[in-house]
Structure formats: structure tokens, C-alpha cells
């Protein structure tokens, strides 16, 4: 039986080079050309040279990051589909975020890719080879995927070092130990190998989990809400460092998150799911600028949602009229207006200032408008001298508003 792990593990430490860096971050020189170029640092004596290793040949033959293809995948629980007819691709080295609200099927999809669940229809291929079809599947331990979890899922009975060594069983213990130590050093925890998980902070646990998932050099890394257990400050630092490592290693990553900030900052592409289906798949700015549905729009930005009715090719609303060529006459719609697309102090519409919140260079002004149940939120330059309670005129950049059917 051929075992992918055998190959990976036959080349301990190959591919990654560990570069001690000053400052807060931790960086790694990867085996791939682009990564090596990017991080070719001064401290070459500390850099592991894959050419010196007998496994280098094997590695270059097969150990680059793999592509992922998901085709018409369906998974039902007792007849109810959790994932339905989902298709998408991930190129080698690409970082894709699966986003959606809880229950949208994104975590189920991740487990299907990992092989932790069986699919009912469709197929999944890694590196161009089927790993899951309704007739059979490659068990998770043979897929060469790594996985990280929200609660890190470190083994509580093993030290940090032993946790990282867990997936390195195919190599001799001494090599596994050395490789695990290097992996810990890469995430800045070289001196914490002897600690048990409960002795580590949340951020440290996350880093051990990253080291553990990457140590066996997975072809694809799957991450299930990897930052949501961290407080805000730690989260941003850990996220940057984590994806610094991942980009340099060139690993293919599928990241599940319900946080649009995570998705926009780290992903090359975002796949938005809703009720088990993909509703939009594209780069971050596409989902932000041209969301396919009202839910996608809501997920990525903060909008003023104004109800309206289509009359003569325009959505007529209390905040103004908006061109809607593709809607039927009389159809109920929701017009989404960015707070920054409303200007106060000029224009033909009128309202009343109900509150002002100072935000620094700008301020958030809430303007009550007759016919709207919620005041409009407007981002205005600070110091406009608008008094709470006073009437105000405003105008909307109609071209940038989005119109969706009312739900």
C-alpha cells in the first residue's frame, strides 16, 4: 500500500527552512522557489538546505502544495442536506476562505474535504486524484491534509513537543523530535516544548496547533475557525504571523470563518456559503463591491437598508430614487447604501440629526428620515457642526447603491 505520509516523513525538515527573526514575528523560508526568494535572509547558516538531504528529489517530485477540486458535493443528515451541490476549486498554494453564518454547511464541507465525513454525492479530488466519491474514499490519515480547529484540539495528555511529534511517526524518533523542535521554533515556541497544553496561553496553544498541523507537511491545510477563541489583540497578531508562515511555505489553505475581517485580510479568494450552497465565489473586493445576494452584502459590510418599490425603472424610497433596470414594475426591493455614500449638508432630501458619534477623522451621524423605521447612518467628516435635533439636508450617490429583491 502506498502511503503519502511515508514520503513526507522520509524527508524530515526538508522544504521548510527556519529563519530566526528578530521582532515579534516568526518567518519561514519555504522549499518553493517563490518563498525561498522572498525570504532569502542573511542568516543562511541557520537555514536548512534541502539539497543536502537525500529526500530532496522525492520532495520536489511530489511534495509541493496540492490543488483541490470539489465537484457537486452533497452531504445529507437524515435527508436534510447540510451541503448541497457544492463545487469550487483551489489552486496549489492558494488561500481560500469559506465564509457563512453558523449552520451554513462550511464546517461540514471542511470535514468532507478532510475525509472525516462521507459524502452522499459528488467527488473531491486532491492534487488531481479523487479522494472521495460516493463509492469509496481515501481515509483521512492517507489524504495528506492537515487540520486546525477553533479550540486547537491539542492532546491534553501530551506535551507541546509530543503534540507536534504526533504526526511524525513514520520517521525515526530522533528525527521526529528534531523536526518537531524546528516546527516549534518556527512558531516562536522553541522553549515551551515541555509544557502541557493547559500551561500555554490561548495564542501559544494556537501556535502549537499550527506547528503540529504543518509538521507532517500536509498538501492542504484546513482551518476551522482558527482564531475565534482568541481575544481581539492577540487574534490580529496571531493571524498575521500564521498567514505569514503559510504564505511563505506556499501551502494550500482552506479556511473556515464566520468573521469577514479574517476572510478579507488573509484569503486570495472567498467562497460564501448559505444553507449548504455556495452563493458567491470570488476575490474579496468582488464580494464586497458586487455581492450576489443581500446576505452576502450584509456579511461583508455595514449598510443602510432602505425599503422601496420599483416605479418606472427606479426604486423609489424615502431616501431617494435609484436606477433598477432589471426589476419588474411594482416589485418590492431593498436598497443598500454605504454610510460613506451619503453626504449631509447638501442635497434635495431632508431629515433630522438624531445622534452623532465621534470616530476620529470622521463621525457617525444618524439621520432620521420620514418613512424610514431606522435612521440613516452617515459617515461624515468631523467638525461639520451638525447639531443633534436640527434638520439637515442630504444626498446619496445613487450609482454606488445596491438593489436586491426584498426578502
Amino acid at each position: 500500500m502506498r502511503d503519502l505520509r511515508g514520503i513526507k516523513n522520509a524527508v524530515p525538515g526538508a522544504g521548510y527552512a527556519f529563519v530566526a527573526s528578530s521582532g515579534s514575528g516568526w518567518h519561514m523560508a519555504g522549499f518553493e522557489g517563490r518563498a525561498a526568494l522572498r525570504s532569502a535572509p542573511s542568516g543562511m547558516d541557520q537555514v536548512y538546505r534541502p539539497e543536502a538531504h537525500e529526500g530532496a528529489l522525492i520532495r520536489s517530485a511530489g511534495m509541493s502544495a496540492a490543488s483541490l477540486a470539489v465537484r457537486h458535493v452533497t452531504r445529507r443528515y437524515g435527508g436534510v442536506p447540510a451541503v448541497e451541490d457544492v463545487s469550487f476549486d483551489v489552486a496549489p498554494g492558494e488561500i481560500v476562505a469559506l465564509v457563512g453564518h453558523s449552520g451554513s454547511g462550511k464546517s461540514t464541507l471542511l470535514r468532507l474535504i478532510a475525509g472525516l465525513e462521507a459524502l452522499d454525492a459528488g467527488r473531491i479530488a486532491i492534487g488531481g486524484h479523487d479522494v472521495a466519491t460516493p463509492d469509496g474514499s481515501v481515509p483521512p490519515e492517507k489524504r495528506g491534509v492537515g487540520m486546525m480547529f477553533q479550540d486547537y484540539a491539542l492532546f491534553p495528555h501530551l506535551t507541546a513537543l509530543r503534540n507536534v511529534m504526533f504526526g511524525l511517526r513514520a520517521m525515526p524518533a530522533s528525527e521526529a523530535r528534531a523536526a518537531a523542535l524546528r516546527a516549534l521554533a518556527r512558531v516562536g515556541l522553541a522553549d515551551r516544548g515541555g509544557d502541557y497544553p493547559h500551561m500555554l496561553s490561548g495564542g501559544e496553544q494556537q501556535r502549537v496547533a499550527l506547528a503540529r498541523a504543518l509538521a507532517p507537511r500536509p498538501r492542504i491545510l484546513l482551518m476551522d475557525e482558527p482564531f475565534s477563541n482568541l481575544d481581539r489583540r492577540t487574534r490580529i497578531l496571531v493571524r498575521e504571523d500564521t498567514f505569514g508562515v503559510l504564505r511563505e511555505s506556499g501551502t494550500t489553505v482552506v479556511l473556515v470563518t464566520h468573521d469577514q475581517d479574517d476572510a478579507m485580510r488573509v484569503a486570495d479568494r472567498i467562497v460564501m456559503m448559505q444553507s449548504g450552497r455556495i452563493v458567491q465565489d470570488g476575490p474579496a473586493e468582488e464580494l464586497c463591491q458586487r455581492p450576489a445576494t443581500l446576505d452576502v452584502a450584509r456579511f461583508f459590510a455595514d449598510w443602510n437598508e432602505v425599503p422601496g418599490i420599483c416605479r418606472g425603472g427606479s426604486a423609489v424610497t424615502p431616501a431617494g430614487d435609484f436606477p433598477t433596470p432589471s426589476f419588474r414594475e411594482g416589485e418590492a426591493v431593498v436598497v443598500c447604501i454605504r454610510p460613506s455614500d451619503i453626504r449631509v449638508g447638501t442635497g434635495d432630501r431632508g431629515g433630522r440629526v438624531v445622534s452623532r458619534h465621534y470616530l476620529g477623522e470622521t463621525e457617525m451621524v444618524q439621520v432620521a428620515v420620514d418613512g424610514l423605521s431606522q435612521p440613516l447612518r452617515v459617515v461624515a467628516p468631523s467638525g461639520d457642526g451638525l447639531a443633534v435635533g436640527s434638520p439637515v439636508s442630504f444626498s446619496v450617490k445613487a450609482g454606488d447603491a445596491l438593489v436586491f429583491p426584498a426578502d
Partner: protein, 564 residues
């Protein structure tokens, strides 16, 4: 695995969820079959029995046996519920000197098997025994003929003795419920102006109904299982009738038919228990860590509470245990520790250890398979494997006689035919048969314990292990096994002690001249001789204290955990 394999070689597609997972499911299925064998074989034997024997049984044995069993169950049920809930309420609702000790001391009677409490009290309450002699001396009565306590060898006597050793089942379950759930409601009731009596009868007792049902059904299953106490106390129960129909009359079909009647009684118990629990869930989710505010009893009231709480401990544990210690000391002084007794102790430990290993291995198989295949199949097999807890030992033993003999004959026939070697009896009447019976009886303990232990291991640890390259079995060995070790240890202790105490199945299945401590005691008590019996009984009680210590520790109110 060839080191030169390239990643570009496609990994093989395997059948869905097979490989290691299928092996575990197969092991679980085999375990369930092992447990179901005796039940199925009983049904077959009973169906094949002659009608005449059945008519005889219905006319002469069944009515009295059923009536006695019903009276015993009703009496023991009422007494264990009264003692168990009363004691649980006393130690959870009140604070008095000695309460903390009483809290665990009330569990002590669990260490005394029914046949030992009967054995001890027969001696204690004998007309010329210590109690009656003392009463006579107290009132200056000269002869046993002039004054006599009512004979303990009666249904009321059996009810009282069994009730006082079996109430801890009810005590354990209701006390846990009072601690976890009742506190807030009791406080609420108090602010609504309810007095103590009203709180107990209108709030605590209805609230405890599911817990009472669980505890009482366990106590009643023990009652049904008992063979020694009923025999010593002269109560002809169903269990005893099964035993004597087989042992004295060699009527296997008749005994099997009676065993089926017994199974019907067991099922009735289970149905009643389910009904009593209906609509109420055992609240393990909303755990309160704060202890309920106890009502302080000072002065004579505190003393009275302590005295009241001590009654079950004294009757169910202290008196019989002290009596056994005294008798054992006399015997040891007189004859020392006889080699025969040592041999029996070795037998007991040997067969119990063997059975414990089997039970733990099978329990692990069933519980882990249910974790892998957490659906109808895995869970269903786990439930089937746990059925034996409700089967009285006599029923299990009878159900095993025929299949084991059949297997022996088959193997013997094959061997004689093929190799000219007669293998004789391989399983019947051997330690293997005993261990099998114990496994059927006690598998629920280990399967349940392991299942509960596994439930505390987050599933993401399984996922992590799998994506880090471990197989289903490897994940168990490297992740689950180390994490459930405490649960395994606790289950092993409980199973081991239950095996050591087991009497009814041992009596029916043991090899010729093979005595355990329990059968030794039974033999002496049936013959009316009192030689090493007290020592054997004392040893069993001492070992029986192990799980009591364990339970006392486990059932302590949860201390708030400091999160890492």
C-alpha cells in the same frame, strides 16, 4: 510502506468507512451476540420443553413463586424508596453534627451482598444468638421458649434485610439529584412560604421521581438476582425455583420456562422504570456547583437527625460487619487461616480477574465502536451489549448451559472425527464458562463507564489524530486510551468486585469442586455449618468496600473547575 512512493501515485479509494472502523464494529457486533446468546437459547429451550412439565410448573411452582417474588419486590421497593429518599433528603437538606460522615457512611451497606446480610442476621437473630439472648437477659427471661422475636425466616424478614442493604441505590441517585437540581427550587419554595414537610413532599419528592425510578429499579434487579438470601430465609422466589428446578430435578426445559417468566418480570420492571422517568430528564446539563443552603439543626434535633440517619448504616452494615469480624476472629483464633480458604480466595481472584479483563476489552470494543459509528448501528450494538445488567445471574447461567454444551459437542465431534482425539468438555463446567457468564452480567458496567469516559474526549481530538495520519485504531491507542484511563480503572474495580460477589451464576456454572468465597459461604449456610463462612463473608465485604470508596469519591458534589 515503500519509501520511494511518489505523491503523484493516487491514494487508493477504499470502501466507505471501512478498514479499522469495520473491525471495531465487527468486534462490537460479536460482543452483542455474546450477550444475546443466552437469551435466545433460553427461548429455544423453553419452546422445546414438554407440555407436561410446564403444566406441573404452572400448577405447583409458579403461583407461589410468583406471589413470593411479587411480595418481595413490592416490599423491597417500598422500603428502599423510603430509606433511600429519606436518607438523601436528610443529608442534603439539613446540617447537623456528623452529617459529612453520614454522607458517605450511608453508602456502606452496598458492600454487603444480600446473601451475606441474610447469613449474618440468621446467626445474629437466632433464638440462642446474641440479640435474643441479650433481650432475655435484659428482661430476666430464663428460656428461649418463653420469649421469641418473630422469625426472620419469612417474607417480612427478607424484605427488611434486603431493603437495608439495597437502599443505597436509591440514596445515590436521589442524593445526586437533590444536590444538583433541587437547591434552587427548594429556595424558591421556601420564599413562597412552604414548610419543611411541604417542601419534601410537594417539591423534592416529585422532582426526584426519575432518580427514584432509576435507583429503585437497580435495587429490584438485585432482589430478583438474589438466590442466597431467599434460600436462607426460606422464601421460595422465582429465582430459587429456577435454581432448584434445574439442580434438584435436572429439568432444564422447566427451568428455562421459569427463566422466561423471570425475564417477563424484568421487562415489566424496565417498563415501569421508563414510565416513571417519562417526561422528566435527568438533569446533568444544568449542574449547580453551589451546595444547597442546608437547614441547621442544633442540640437535640441535630442528635436526633444523626441517630435517625445512622439506623440504616447500623442495620445494613455495622451490625452484620461487626458480627462477621467477631465470628471470623473466633475462627481464626481457633483454626487459623485454612489452606482451603486460601485456595478459594485464589480461585475467586483468578476467575474475577479473568472476567474483568474480558469485560473491559469487550466494553471498550462496544463503546469505541459506538463512538466511531455514532448512529443507529453503533449505539444499538452498545445497548445490546449492555442488556445483561438486567438479567439475573440464574437466567444468564441457564441460558449459557445449552450453547456451551453444544459448542463442546461440536468441537469434540470434529476432533474425534478428524483427528481421533476427544476434547471432552472445553467450556462447560470450566472457568471459561464462569467468566463468560460474568461478562454477560457485568458488561454494562464497563461499556457504560468507557462510553461516559469517551464522551468527555472532544471529537476534535479524534479529527486531529486522523488528519495527523493516525488510523481509527491508532487514534484509540494514542489518544483515547490515555485519556480514559481513570474511567477504565473505575470500571475495572466495579466489575472485579461484582464478579467476586457473584453467587447465582457461579453456583450453576462452576467446575466440579471449584469453590469461590461466595459459593463456600453459600454451602456452609445451606448446610447450617459455620466454619470458615464468616471469614469468607468478611473478605467479600472488605473487597466490596472498594467500590463504595470509589462511589463516595465520585458522588461528591463537583468542585468548580479552574479553567486552564
Amino acid at each position: 510502506m515503500p519509501a520511494g512512493a511518489l505523491a503523484s501515485d493516487p491514494p487508493r479509494l477504499a470502501r466507505q468507512w471501512c478498514g479499522g472502523a469495520c473491525l471495531w464494529l465487527a468486534a462490537s457486533a460479536a460482543t452483542a451476540v455474546l450477550v444475546l446468546v443466552p437469551i435466545v437459547s433460553l427461548a429455544i429451550i423453553a419452546a422445546g420443553g414438554s407440555g407436561d412439565a410446564w403444566t406441573h410448573l404452572v400448577a405447583n411452582v409458579l403461583p407461589a413463586a410468583t406471589l413470593n417474588t411479587a411480595l418481595l419486590l413490592l416490599g423491597v421497593g417500598a422500603l428502599t424508596i423510603a430509606l433511600g429518599t429519606g436518607a438523601a433528603w436528610l443529608v442534603t437538606a439539613y446540617e447537623f453534627p456528623g452529617r459529612r460522615v453520614l454522607d458517605w457512611a450511608l453508602l456502606l451497606p452496598l458492600a454487603v451482598p444480600t446473601y451475606i446480610v441474610a447469613y449474618a442476621y440468621l446467626d445474629l437473630l437466632h433464638p440462642i444468638g446474641p440479640v435474643q439472648s441479650f433481650i432475655r437477659t435484659l428482661f430476666g427471661i430464663a428460656s428461649p421458649q418463653d420469649f421469641r422475636l418473630p422469625d426472620v425466616r419469612s417474607i417480612p424478614g427478607a424484605v427488611i434485610l434486603l431493603g437495608f442493604v439495597l437502599y443505597p441505590y436509591v440514596y445515590l441517585s436521589t442524593r445526586a439529584l437533590f444536590l444538583i437540581q433541587a437547591a434552587g427550587l427548594v429556595d424558591a419554595a421556601r420564599t413562597l412560604g412552604a414548610g419543611q414537610g411541604r417542601i419534601f413532599f410537594r417539591v423534592a419528592l416529585p422532582l426526584a421521581r426519575p432518580a427514584i425510578a432509576v435507583g429503585a429499579s437497580l435495587a429490584l434487579m438485585e432482589t430478583l438476582n438474589d438466590v442466597g438470601a431467599s434460600e436462607f430465609l426460606g422464601v421460595r422466589t422465582l429465582t430459587l425455583s429456577i435454581y432448584s428446578t434445574w439442580i434438584n430435578q435436572s429439568n432444564l426445559a422447566g427451568a428455562a420456562q421459569l427463566a422466561l417468566v423471570m425475564l417477563a418480570v424484568v421487562m415489566l420492571l424496565v417498563v415501569i422504570e421508563r414510565a416513571a422517568r417519562r417526561g422528566q430528564r435527568f438533569g446533568t446539563t444544568a449542574q449547580r456547583t453551589a451546595a444547597p443552603a442546608r437547614r441547621r439543626l442544633a442540640g437535640w434535633a441535630g442528635g436526633a437527625a444523626l441517630a435517625l440517619g445512622l439506623i440504616p448504616v447500623l442495620v445494613g452494615f455495622a451490625f452484620p460487619a461487626l458480627h462477621l469480624i467477631r465470628q471470623a476472629a473466633i475462627r481464626l483464633d481457633f483454626a487459623g487461616f485454612s489452606p482451603r480458604l486460601i485456595g478459594e480466595a485464589v480461585n475467586t481472584i483468578g476467575v474475577s480477574t479473568l472476567a474483568t479483563v474480558i469485560v473491559i476489552v469487550l466494553g471498550v470494543a462496544a463503546a469505541y465502536a459506538a463512538r466511531i459509528e455514532d448512529g443507529r448501528i453503533g449505539r444499538g450494538l452498545l445497548r445490546a451489549a449492555s442488556l445483561g445488567y438486567a438479567l439475573p445471574g440464574t437466567v444468564v447461567a441457564l441460558g449459557l448451559l445449552a450453547p456451551l454444551a453444544g459448542l463442546d459437542n461440536l468441537v469434540d465431534g470434529l476432533m474425534s472425527h478428524g483427528f481421533g482425539v476427544s476434547t471432552g468438555l472445553l467450556l462447560s463446567g470450566t472457568i471459561a464458562a464462569l467468566a463468560y457468564a460474568y461478562a454477560v452480567r457485568f458488561l454494562a458496567i464497563s461499556a457504560g463507564g468507557v462510553d461516559a469516559g469517551l464522551a468527555k474526549v472532544p471529537r476534535r481530538l479524534d479529527y486531529s489524530a486522523r488528519t495527523l495520519g493516525e488510523t481509527v485504531t491508532g487514534a484509540f491507542r494514542r489518544v483515547h486510551l490515555p485519556l480514559i484511563r481513570p474511567a477504565l480503572g473505575a470500571a475495572a474495580i466495579l466489575v472485579f468486585v461484582d464478579c467476586m460477589k457473584e453467587l447465582p451464576a457461579t453456583l450453576l456454572l462452576r467446575p466440579l469442586n471449584f469453590e469461590t468465597l461466595a459459593t463456600h459461604l453459600y454451602g456452609e449456610a445451606s448446610r447450617g455449618t459455620y466454619e470458615d463462612g464468616a471469614i469468607a463473608a468478611l473478605l467479600i465485604v472488605l473487597v466490596g468496600l472498594l467500590p463504595v470508596v470509589l462511589l463516595a469519591r465520585v458522588s461528591r458534589p463537583a468542585v468548580p473547575q479552574v479553567s486552564p
